[in-house]
Point group: C2
Chain length 246, copies 2
DNA sequence: CTAATTTGTGTAAATATTACACATTTACTT
DNA sequence: AAGTAAATGTGTAATATTTACACAAATTAG
């Protein structure tokens, strides 16, 4: 098929009014955000899930999400969910993908924008007595409600990729951490084992770690040094950053 | 702020009906797709632009896009645009990012899903007498309508990244191409110069090129061999593919 | 004070990347 | 037909990066 002037002009003669009427009428769709919220605890990568809103999916877990308000930016909606559910602001948040298959949601046409978020599990006070909201080991995440399994898989793969390009892992750790904790985190996310010496070498070479001059407490073995992440230095280098390359 | 049972339960007691009414009423938003369609011609990377639909932006160029129909998948809408504008099916298409700032569109709240597409510029029959639709050198793309400059920039950066991870460039070339054309393409996309011998070595090592036993015609110098891309082999290796690494 | 555990550190081998030059093929010019 | 201009096709040595690997030191538990 080749283009004709007709179908081009058909497009190009649209006035603002024409489009406004289209926007206001037939072509409106419900939009939601869904957040894949990752945490790291007891050397396991976790994701925060909730019992599905809908009776139909009562027995299934689902991602945290909500409809986007008509006068709300996409990112703002995702931040709203995060704040509402975890009490945290200023967290790492990245838009990942938009899912819009016609029949993905039982309530009608709902297109959802998926976000990946990394939070420090120690910093938030989740009500652990509430069994509606739960941190799941990512290796036990199966059979989520709606298309949430697909959304989760997509976000987890994105995280695995991103973590190898940028030092995002720090968002999941406490402010002070040992190199062993950092390595455990990377191993948990990537599902691999790494050489301890080479791992340390790599991170020291990046030069983003600040030695706090403190050591771990209450460990039943030689305590490791504690470090913090040098956010400032990373932000400066970010422009020309090409990846971590594990 | 910490979570209370109240705001959790408030969420969890939603019935399908409650959500349905939300979906059907206040929370509906117009959704569009915008396609950043790349082509490669005369050793330049090009993007297909159209004069803006709206009078207000009459003098500006914009991306090709349209509202998504209520019963249409996102990808289907993007393919529809592509087919309509270029006459091509079976092209490379990738969802890149969703842009939804409240005031991004003068016609009201319109959230747009941006797609990046790679087409073979020789294979489509664009009406070059029609000045409403035009291939722009990507180095001269400035000041697009709406937030299309931002969308273009995002998609171009995505392309630069993807091209270094997967051999997508072939989508932009004719079926038969010389290694010089392939290198010109990579240089145009990445905005760099590369070493000819190392480039060839890298691609031969990937082992995705099939020597057609033919040579270039009508070149005023020693003609290069022609190759085609081995899609089958790439698809097989894809799973364990980690990148091209220029 | 001994055992168990984990930290902290360097080097050699293997692998990957880069830089680089010359003979060959073709079309064009005279 | 001979010479020139232009781009193809090819290999190697130097450099940089990645990997594999072992032992002494610090701490707690018994």
């Amino acid at each position: 098929m080749s283009l004709t002037l007709d179908n081009l002009n058909q497009k190009n003669t649209k006035t603002l009014k024409t489009i406004q009427s289209e926007v206001e009428s037939i072509n409106r769709i419900a939009l939601s955000v869904d957040c894949v919220i990752f945490g790291f605890d007891e050397n396991k990568l976790k994701v925060l899930l909730i019992r599905s809103d809908l009776r139909k999916f009562q027995s299934k877990w689902s991602l945290l999400g909500d409809l986007i308000h008509i006068n709300e930016d996409l990112d703002a909606a995702a931040y709203r969910i995060l704040k509402q559910r975890t009490g945290l602001s200023d967290v790492y948040l990245e838009q990942v993908h938009t899912f819009g298959t016609i029949n993905r949601h039982p309530a009608g046409r709902v297109v959802t924008v998926a976000y990946c978020s990394l939070i420090n599990i120690q910093h938030h006070k989740l009500n652990i007595f509430d069994n509606e909201l739960h941190w799941h080991d990512i290796n036990n995440v199966t059979d989520l409600a709606f298309d949430h399994q697909q959304i989760f898989d997509t976000c987890y793969h994105r995280l695995q990729k991103r973590i190898q390009e940028h030092p995002l892992g720090f968002n999941l750790l406490p402010k002070k951490f040992s190199l062993r904790e950092l390595q455990n985190l990377y191993e948990a996310i990537l599902g691999t084992k790494m050489d301890r010496r080479n791992f340390r070498k790599k991170f020291f070479a990046m030069d983003f770690l600040i030695d706090l001059g403190e050591i771990e407490q209450d460990v039943p073995h030689r305590p490791g040094k504690l470090y913090k992440f040098n956010y400032g230095k990373y932000e400066k280098k970010k422009k020309k950053w090409v990846g971590i390359d594990f």
